[in-house]
Assembly symmetry: C3
Homo-oligomer: 445 residues x 3
Amino acid sequence: MIPLAEVLAHPPATAQAAAISGEDLHALVRQLYPICRSITGDGVRQTLAVLQEYLPGLEVHEVPTGTPVLDWQVPREWNIRDAWIKDRRGERVVDFRQHNLHVLGYSVPVRGTFTLAELKKHLYTLPEQPHLIPYRTAYYAETWGFCLAHAQLEALHEPEYEVCIDSTLAAGALTYGELLLPGDTDEEVLISSHICHPSLANDNLSGIAVATFLARHLLGQPRRYSYRFVFAPGTIGAITWLSQNVGAVARIRHGLVLSLLGETGAFTFKKSRRGTAEIDRTVALALREAAAPHRVVDFEPYGYDERQYCSPGFNLPVGCLSRTPYGQFPEYHTSADDLDFVRPEALLDSLHLTQAVMHMLEANHRYQNLSPYGEPELGRRGLYAAVSGRPNAARAQLALLWVLNLSDGQHSLLDIAERAGLPFALLQHAAELLLAHDLLAPLAD
Amino acid sequence: MIPLAEVLAHPPATAQAAAISGEDLHALVRQLYPICRSITGDGVRQTLAVLQEYLPGLEVHEVPTGTPVLDWQVPREWNIRDAWIKDRRGERVVDFRQHNLHVLGYSVPVRGTFTLAELKKHLYTLPEQPHLIPYRTAYYAETWGFCLAHAQLEALHEPEYEVCIDSTLAAGALTYGELLLPGDTDEEVLISSHICHPSLANDNLSGIAVATFLARHLLGQPRRYSYRFVFAPGTIGAITWLSQNVGAVARIRHGLVLSLLGETGAFTFKKSRRGTAEIDRTVALALREAAAPHRVVDFEPYGYDERQYCSPGFNLPVGCLSRTPYGQFPEYHTSADDLDFVRPEALLDSLHLTQAVMHMLEANHRYQNLSPYGEPELGRRGLYAAVSGRPNAARAQLALLWVLNLSDGQHSLLDIAERAGLPFALLQHAAELLLAHDLLAPLAD
Amino acid sequence: MIPLAEVLAHPPATAQAAAISGEDLHALVRQLYPICRSITGDGVRQTLAVLQEYLPGLEVHEVPTGTPVLDWQVPREWNIRDAWIKDRRGERVVDFRQHNLHVLGYSVPVRGTFTLAELKKHLYTLPEQPHLIPYRTAYYAETWGFCLAHAQLEALHEPEYEVCIDSTLAAGALTYGELLLPGDTDEEVLISSHICHPSLANDNLSGIAVATFLARHLLGQPRRYSYRFVFAPGTIGAITWLSQNVGAVARIRHGLVLSLLGETGAFTFKKSRRGTAEIDRTVALALREAAAPHRVVDFEPYGYDERQYCSPGFNLPVGCLSRTPYGQFPEYHTSADDLDFVRPEALLDSLHLTQAVMHMLEANHRYQNLSPYGEPELGRRGLYAAVSGRPNAARAQLALLWVLNLSDGQHSLLDIAERAGLPFALLQHAAELLLAHDLLAPLAD
């Protein structure tokens, strides 16, 4: 029998991850930061190779250019070696080697001399943030371009510039990574992060790092659910994965898209299209219990890959966990989204939150009260303080009463936590105590 | 294919009514104002004759006195030619020819000399608004009376007065007008306005004028629904119409009672008894989109003819659109509800709102997303900006995504507008674009 | 036919109880206060004997020690004659005869001399309320103890004290009282109050007194429901009653636990586990109509005997009515919960509220509008003011319209009162008027 005092002292699940530090997460972000990623190409492969150092079971999939994927086709593969704009002295005034954001993503190769006026049609800047390089792509338009600080643009006064983009856009493959952690059941939890952005730390090396360390954490835990981690390019990668994994899709019970989890802003949880799915309620509860500032917002069909998972044909219970949402912080999609912007402690808090969510999903069972007529006599089982009459019942005793009262076959621990306003862990341990005393029976999920 | 830019520039439906001015509406109010209406009689006939000038198809129905109508009977017909109170010098101190409110509606004929004390039992005033004539009726009590300014009453000091009410209350008919505008289906929208009040401009010449010009507007539009306009005396008129039109009643899908729409107060929409009918949600959405001050209130069984349409046996989805509700403005049911109280611009805004509501009802279809697994590739169809990465998606693109995401057979455009918080017209045009690209299919309503 | 004026003047139901005064209630509290009650024993029997003076039909049940009752067993019976702590001069420094709270409830007998240190292990005080004696019990732990003012404890300086508790804990019975007032149907309303506390006036002589006078009130009324009053020890008493009355349990349609109703704090109604039961809505409405400060709170599985009635196997529609809840007033479970703390006017208001609730339950019928198409003509039946046109309809007329409008077979008077925002009694009398005019028919409940 578990003594009551021990239940109260039971450490929260997230503390078990104490061995992982924010620095560990940040180190992975630093390792991935220099790589020039896009929706296809060697940058994605290099990224996944790094992740395999952390997750040896991670499988890398290559889907050939032209493969039909849902309403789309896998595009040509893009690779880039160098790019620059040189002035008449031959100096690189814009240089891909200095920052890979300088090239418009998916630029076709170009080599030649352009008048400044012609060149300017291919230049992207942020006049209101004149010292930052914007992040721009043109995946499905056959064009080329450079992104640069507006201050750089204003310094261009020569009549002509020499331009080079040494890229290839050719048949190849779309690459994604996938890791399945089998559990006691083949019901799956999907964790998905986009890996298509070049040197942007928060967007989305933060999500990748949290997902990676969440996987490492779960590897060391007993698992009721199987966990599927997908590291894929945004939109086309999720679409490709969905089209290639119809079987897995049918087994997804819960899912999270992880993105923008590295800065110190409040958490934002965007609910799944269903709005009241277990994952929606679980993340909301975990955020309330974390007692940190947060927002829970309704689904909308713009954002990250929840767009695909929550398309009406799939309608999966997949939400999106972020901190400050896309477009709502000034560093978003600029060169200011760098290694300093992402903070070890923020990454670690994000990891802990995802761990708490997974812990709740794992533990969210329904039970049947085996003594449902009146309260069972807790006292003779040592579950009730012997001298009573005090004004306030201990929370642990209240937890026992709530679990007994609502374990009528209709309510899960999550339901009980929402209604009782008591911590999920306290109710979970109350359920364990009651199970140990044959006052509860587990119900099939 | 409709270009995106054109969609964004698409003019709102109400602008198509630019040819109608507030003055047009006010001119009709002015034309009807002098007529002495009641629940029966020649004033109603004269009023309908004026409306026929605007709506040549308007049919006038006469239902004989004594006809059983639901729980009631058509009452005797009341007509009045003159009425006065004369002092000893023979001067009319109260004169029906000066204002038809001076006679208690449905007064029986009287001729004689009364002591001031006897006379006062038949006089109605507003002591707190001493310069206004009240509006009073006694349809179902065989009595007579005069309404006058309290100041007039206080000026009566003679011991006796000569009194005349030259009215007739005799077998005749109850008169109402009806106009049916056939549409593509025989499902009907009912527009109903009471026409039983004498010289009161807001109550309800305003509603009559808005209904008349709404009918003229719809005459020039393609119509999915058939529209039935009923101009009838309050209560007994609606009851009479209901009892005589059981077939039409069964075809009513939406309805509005129009009343008190001429002054500049905020709109008030009183929902149907159902509370969540499509008309209830549509008017509420139109009011939100109009971004004007307004209130949406629950049904209650007092008010205008929605009382009859929403009686439990019929329970029709008919709400009531007004501006300031009855009894809540000081001019209500007094001689101050005059031609100055009613404003051209207020009438026009009211008309535009009803047009917007009808436009939404017409356009509120459900669609099936034909590419429901993942998002369809909008880019290759020219539906997506080519260079992406900007922080905010254009609202037009968001509208496309919302329509795709929720067009699962369960959601109408109204549902989508409520959930997306985007203008109905933007979603409607998104749906048209997607239909044109075979990404949506219309569903039977 | 009942004239409208009479309906408006109809006195509220609670005024019929004018013959009962707050003093009557307080007198009963005073009579019961000195008795030393516990969950078993002669104090309970004496208490029920007093109640039988008020309620001659009250039956006293004795359930033998050891009887299995649900998950529990009836405990040994406890009786106490005397208890004291004497100093070396033989003076009683703690004396049961001065206050029966001085003995820890269910103390086993003890006689001997203890060092102060040993004695202190058996002493309970309230250091933060140093002049009050706490109330403590140890029903299911074989121990003994004294409760005393902290100031008394601090005055103990002698090395040893002589101690005596002259109690018996032996096979006997658990005693409870039960009164059934038969009604027109065998559907029952359960009123339950705990009677296990010794000299505590608010907890729960107040509840006992209100229940007793409610029963006396109902004895003089026609009754649709049968009313079952249970006066039983907390927890084990309710469990015993439930286990012995399975047949009655099945007939319970509504129920209230009455407790803590004697001080002047705001009412607190704790809803049943169901949350939307008729009793839940009725008490909430009665509280709103009483226009007194109050709170309506959700069920939780801690509190009084609603814990047992609302255990998941029974899940009865039983709420708990109190004023300031347990533990939330400083006098709670101390010697300050005395005869001064309980006020006659508070007891009377509590009684009136319970009477109003029972009156609503009795009168809460559903009706069928027999003239559901349009409004029936109220005027020709004398139900409508003859001269209309005034800005506000009288509330009595509005009540007629609401009852007609919602009497579609789906709505009870309670439903109508909630939706109309009109007093229940006004709607009830409107229904009586309409019944008298054959405009309504009663529906089977």
